[in-house]
């Protein structure tokens, strides 16, 4: 079963770029990705640019509307994701707990919808 692990954290929480801790933090991500790949669980995963760069798009009565910024102005923002192929929710939760941001942020785990043929 495929699960998406959505990585949320507050903008200035956790190790910040330019600090000595940041290098270790990035390395932990590389290690996690390698572990998930080796176990055959990894399907995809990316980090996202900050929400300052986000553009939100909608069609209002057929007219294109764009807004500068993320869909929801919340303290915790989506910063990246992993797509994981796991046996069950327990396995997905155990991987989510290993994502380095879990220490200061939150990981939302959701199953990917499968459409019948």
């Amino acid at each position: 079963m495929q699960y998406i692990a959505l990585i949320y954290s507050a903008a200035n929480s956790g190790p910040q770029p330019g600090t000595p801790e940041f290098g270790g933090y990035i390395q932990k991500y590389q290690e996690f990705t390698a572990e998930a790949q080796k176990a055959g669980v990894f399907v995809a995963g990316d980090a996202l640019q900050s929400t300052d760069t986000a553009t939100t798009v909608t069609l209002e009565n057929g007219k294109l509307e764009t807004t500068d910024g993320p869909f929801a102005e919340t303290k915790e923002q989506l910063g990246g994701y992993y797509l994981l192929d796991c046996k069950d929710l327990d396995e997905a939760i155990s991987y989510a707990a290993k994502i380095p941001t879990a220490k200061h942020g939150r990981i939302e785990v959701r199953p990917v919808m499968v459409f019948d043929q």
């Binding site: 079963m1 699960y3 796991c86 046996k87 069950d88 929710l89 327990d90 997905a92 939760i93 959701r110 199953p111 499968v114 019948d116 043929q117």
Partner: protein
């Protein structure tokens, strides 16, 4: 002469006794909780007609399981939404072909432990865990569960449907957790069972002190869990604790329905068979040397049960057990209970100091048991004038009518 055979009664009896076992076995073979419930319901309906005509089968449970499996095969074939359960269909069909008739001596594989862990999975909220456990393992109807929660039946039905959908779609496993996560998962299971017990023992609101059915149900669930996990001392500890509490059921309420505190209970009303079973169990559990909070609480309860009266209670040992419990599970509740033991084991002043510390170090401004305990200690210390406002505050914070009356009496 034997009474006339009534299939409806036979079905009801089988369902009451074996519902959890039958359902758990079906979930394993059909691979989906909702589907298992639906086909079991079909089988129960079929049983009514069939048993009326042909008499009761030797093993009603085995009959229900086989019929339900056949109903599942029909649904798999008829309905494309079950396409993802192809392996289950293959398995069921093989099973069906290998046994032409219901094997009377067929052992129903016991999968209730798997089912308990599914129902009490931490990805479900606690109320849902409790409701699902009562529905699937207890065999309670949705209406009964709604009544226990003082919920609308429709809201409860919706909650259960949503939960079963999440179990299926999110891939919540139907398994006993691996040994590294088993202890914390078991803790959730035990807390669900204990919550059910307490809902039955002291309804948090409304005018019924004891909703005994729920307490009985919790004890039954704990017995099953003990039977399935005999090596886990905390499971046995929880069963002992509930039996010991429950032994005082009759003494807790007088004829007018008023609540009676342990101190003033008529000990002749305590159920000695439950006390004997509870104390025997706690002794067995303690021998395993896996000490835990349920065993400690059961030990405290056993000391009360063995005491001739309130004055002759082994307060120093109870005080020490609460201290140990506090170190394992630091909480205001434990300290408040300890203060009573300490007031007899050490001194009233020491107990008052302990309660003052509790108030200073935690956020318990509106915590009713603190006011009850403090008022009592001050009263015993000859400070009636100081105790009265605390008692008034306690009454204000009480939802349960019987307990309110009890406190009002103290106020005089």
């Amino acid at each position: 002469m034997l009474p006339p055979f009534k299939p409806a009664q036979a079905i009801e009896l089988t369902i009451r006794e074996d519902y959890g076992r039958i359902l758990a076995s079906l979930v394993k073979s059909v691979g989906d909780l909702q589907l298992a419930e639906d086909v079991l319901q079909d089988a129960i309906e079929a049983a009514l007609g069939n048993w009326q005509q042909h008499g009761l089968p030797n093993s009603p449970a085995a009959w229900l399981i086989q019929t339900a499996r056949r109903k599942a095969i029909d649904r798999f074939r008829r309905d494309a939404t079950w396409a993802k359960l192809k392996p289950e269909l293959t398995y069921l069909t093989e099973l069906e072909n290998s046994q032409q008739t219901v094997d009377e001596s067929e052992e129903i594989p016991d999968k209730r432990l798997e089912l308990i862990f599914t129902c009490c999975h931490p990805a479900l909220d606690q109320k849902t865990q409790i409701a699902l456990t009562l529905r699937t393992l207890g065999g309670l109807t949705t209406d009964e569960i709604a009544r226990a929660f003082l919920d609308k039946p429709s809201a409860m039905a919706q909650r259960l449907v949503r939960a079963k959908k999440k179990i299926s779609l999110a891939g919540i496993p139907y398994e006993v957790p691996a040994s590294d996560i088993l202890p914390e998962r078991l803790e959730t299971v035990l807390s669900v069972i204990y919550f059910i017990f307490n809902e039955g023992y002291a309804a948090s609101s409304g005018n019924q002190v004891t909703r005994g059915d729920l307490s009985d149900e919790a004890i039954r669930l704990a017995r099953i869990t003990v039977q399935l996990l005999p090596e886990r001392a905390e499971v046995t500890g929880l069963l002992a604790l509930m039996l010991l509490h429950d032994s005082r059921r009759k003494a807790r309420q007088n004829k007018k329905g008023e609540l009676t505190a342990l101190q003033f209970q008529d000990r002749k009303l305590w159920d000695q068979s439950k006390i004997l079973e509870g104390t025997t169990l706690i002794k067995q559990a303690l021998k395993k040397q896996q000490i835990g909070p349920y065993q400690l609480q059961a030990s405290i309860s056993a000391l009360h049960a063995e005491a001739k009266n309130w004055e002759h209670t082994d307060w120093p040992q109870i005080n020490a057990l609460y201290e140990l419990l506090y170190r394992m599970h630091p909480s205001a509740v434990v300290r408040i209970n300890q203060s009573i033991a300490m007031s007899y084991a050490t001194s009233i002043k020491a107990a008052i100091d302990l309660l003052k510390q509790v108030k200073a170090s935690t956020q318990i401004n509106d915590y009713q048991p603190w006011y009850v305990a403090m008022a009592d200690l001050l009263d015993r210390d000859g400070k009636r004038d100081e105790s009265i406002p605390l008692l008034e505050k306690a009454i204000e914070l009480t939802d349960n009518d019987a307990e309110k009356q009890f406190l009002q009496k103290k106020l005089g």
